[in-house]
Amino acid sequence: MSVLSRLTSTACALVALTGLARADALTDAVVDQHILPTYERLATETAEFATLTESDCAPTSEAVRTAWGEAFDAWVAASHLRFGPSEADNRAFAIAFWPDSRSKTPKALRGLLLDSDPVVNTPEDFATASVAVRGFYALEYLFYDPAYADLASPDYACAVVKAVAQDLSQNSAAILTDWQEEYAEKLRHPDERYRSDEEAHQELFKALNTGLEILGDMRIGRPLGTFDNPRPNRAEVRRSGRSLRHLELQLDSLRQLALLLSDGDAELSQHLTQVFDKADRHAANLADDPSFAGVSDPQHRFLLETLQQDVRAIKDIAALDLGPRLGVEAGFNALDGD
């Protein structure tokens, strides 16, 4: 943050104590009602998945797939909270390596299975494996792509499932522990990492923006490609038919964060509610094309494009109305550098 804005925030503190008090409440609300519960759910779901794989780890098991799906749901809800604990030791990348523009996950998984690589034998060893083969997306290939079904013995495939589940659980637990033991405090009481409430708010605003970018540019943008060159094979988690589900889950989570950030501004909250409602309705229109295979068909494509426009409209509202409220300087270069 600039010296100028630090001066400004000091000045604000002097002249508007009430404003500062509300600022703290904002950080508290986001941490207590959004960040901690979101990462708690991820830690719980991944732990349940890991526990299940102790007794049932066949890639074909419905129970295993269901537990994986529930844990994956929890990750999608957290996937915009990419700062601090999630970034230590590449934890978030190990949990979810996507997009995979160079097909590293299928290549690494294939190698692992064909070699029956002993790296899966202990959690310590598996933590050194490439992030491309460690997370939710690697298991999606193993569970839902027939090309990976018979590359290794059932026992080895089982060991892979167990290793990934344990690794997911460990990384998720580590993120949660860091949040609980130190990082929440860093946001709540700015000192070293964040030097003012304003800086903490900027981080939270950035998380919303990150989520909207992942949603609009990646989860929707990658399969859309261009009109002349649609890319249905790039749809996230198309093999398991979860593509649309991920959009809906992320919309829910981002709505929660956006509303917490706009708390106290009834007009803005109402506006955000309207645009998120609209996006939900447009997402529901895609129900018969959950993997976005239809992006090559102009009629179906239009539905996904409409949803992308909704997401971009939400991003614009965040930039124009929410950012300034949180002291995010919408500098031409600062906001969008190169």
Binding site: S5, F83, R231, D338
Partner: protein, 357 residues
């Protein structure tokens, strides 16, 4: 590359006035891309005092520009993932040509002319396979005449070497694809480098940072008269880590990181926007719009010697006395012992301030 004979033939056939030079009256001292009051994108010529001399409309957001070494013309490049580069007569701002990269490529926003000005090079993304490319253009008629790999992913700024003939390219390491906007596709595996290439594209040397800095995207460069390359980086990891943003490298030697262990490095917010050497070449400066600061470092000791607050600063150029900076709030300011605003335009100046003479 065109032969000397071909070059002269091109010169004779050209409709452009062959006698025009930078000494002709009216040529600006700097170029900068910007956004005007109506939200439209321009490239503007500025006087040495920062006054706007002309504006040329661009179809979309611009980024940097490159000046021809002898003729008073310059090329303004689209910001990535743009696909235009406008050749401008710098005396008037008139457009002389518009370049488009081949199908499947987009520009990264930077380019450079060969020492004699026969050829222009552009940094490009061949995005279907994510390969960094250098486009080669005849600088007389601006026809595409070739291309070669940049030596990495995501080539951004490129300069001429000054210790030997050749190019130095900042391969930022980040893969993007226009279908996914500006989203970064390969952060956990990114490997930026500084590549030294011959003018025909042979890789002569590559500098990589240690593995713990693999998420530090080497993006902008400046070259001192002895051939030392100053590079500015943009950190793609968590901002909680204190990371170097500026380094120096001389071909054949190990790199040096600047300002290390100085707590003020954090004020750059992990982001170097532009880099330039001082007029006397003893200092190197970096701008950070995210931090709202310009930091000046001593080339010999590596120490951070001064920090100046300037809101949304990004463009930076060498002047005889020190540095000139431009900002997203329209200011052009001299950076000496203090910041002195020379001019303010009703424009948001974009990332780079390009000296023309």
């Amino acid at each position: 590359m065109p032969s000397r004979r071909g070059f002269i033939a091109g010169l004779m056939a050209s409709s452009m006035a062959p006698s025009a030079t930078w000494a002709d009256a009216g040529a600006p001292a700097y170029l900068s891309a910007g956004k005007d009051e109506l939200g439209l994108f321009v490239v503007a010529g500025l006087s040495a005092a920062g006054e706007v001399l002309f504006r040329h409309s661009l179809p979309d957001r611009g980024h940097a520009a490159s000046a021809h070494p002898t003729r008073p013309e310059a090329v303004a490049f689209a910001r990535r993932p743009g696909r235009f580069a406008d050749v401008i007569d710098c005396r008037t701002g008139a457009q002389l040509a518009r370049l488009e990269p081949p199908e499947g490529h987009h520009f990264y926003g930077h380019g450079v002319f060969s020492p004699e000005g026969e050829v222009m090079y552009t940094t490009e993304n061949a995005y279907e396979n994510g390969e960094g490319m250098i486009g080669v253009w005849n600088a007389r008629d601006y026809r595409r005449i070739g291309q070669f790999p940049s030596g990495g992913i995501g080539p951004h700024e490129m300069r001429l070497r000054r210790d030997a003939p050749g190019l130095v390219v900042a391969n930022g390491g980040i893969e993007t694809h226009p279908d996914s906007g500006r989203a970064k596709l390969n952060i956990p595996f990114m490997r930026p480098n500084l590549s030294y290439l011959s003018l025909s594209g042979e890789i002569q040397e590559q500098m990589e940072l240690p593995a713990d800095l693999h998420k530090n995207s080497i993006r902008h460069i400046a070259v001192r008269s002895d051939g030392t390359v100053g590079f500015a980086m943009q950190w793609q990891g968590d901002l909680g880590a204190d990371v170097p943003i500026v380094g120096l490298h001389f071909p054949g030697e190990t790199h040096r990181l600047m300002g290390e262990d100085d707590p003020r490095l954090r004020n750059l917010s992990g982001y170097g926007g532009s880099i330039a050497f001082s007029g006397d070449e003893t200092q190197v400066a970096v701008t950070s719009p995210r931090g709202g600061v310009v930091q000046v470092m001593d080339c010999a000791s590596g120490a951070l010697v001064a920090e100046h607050a300037l809101a949304d600063v990004c463009g930076l150029a060498t002047t005889r006395a020190g540095f000139l900076a431009s900002t997203g709030t329209g200011a052009v300011a001299r950076i000496g012992t203090q910041v002195e605003t020379l001019a303010t335009a009703p424009l948001a100046w974009d990332n780079h301030l390009i000296p023309l003479v």
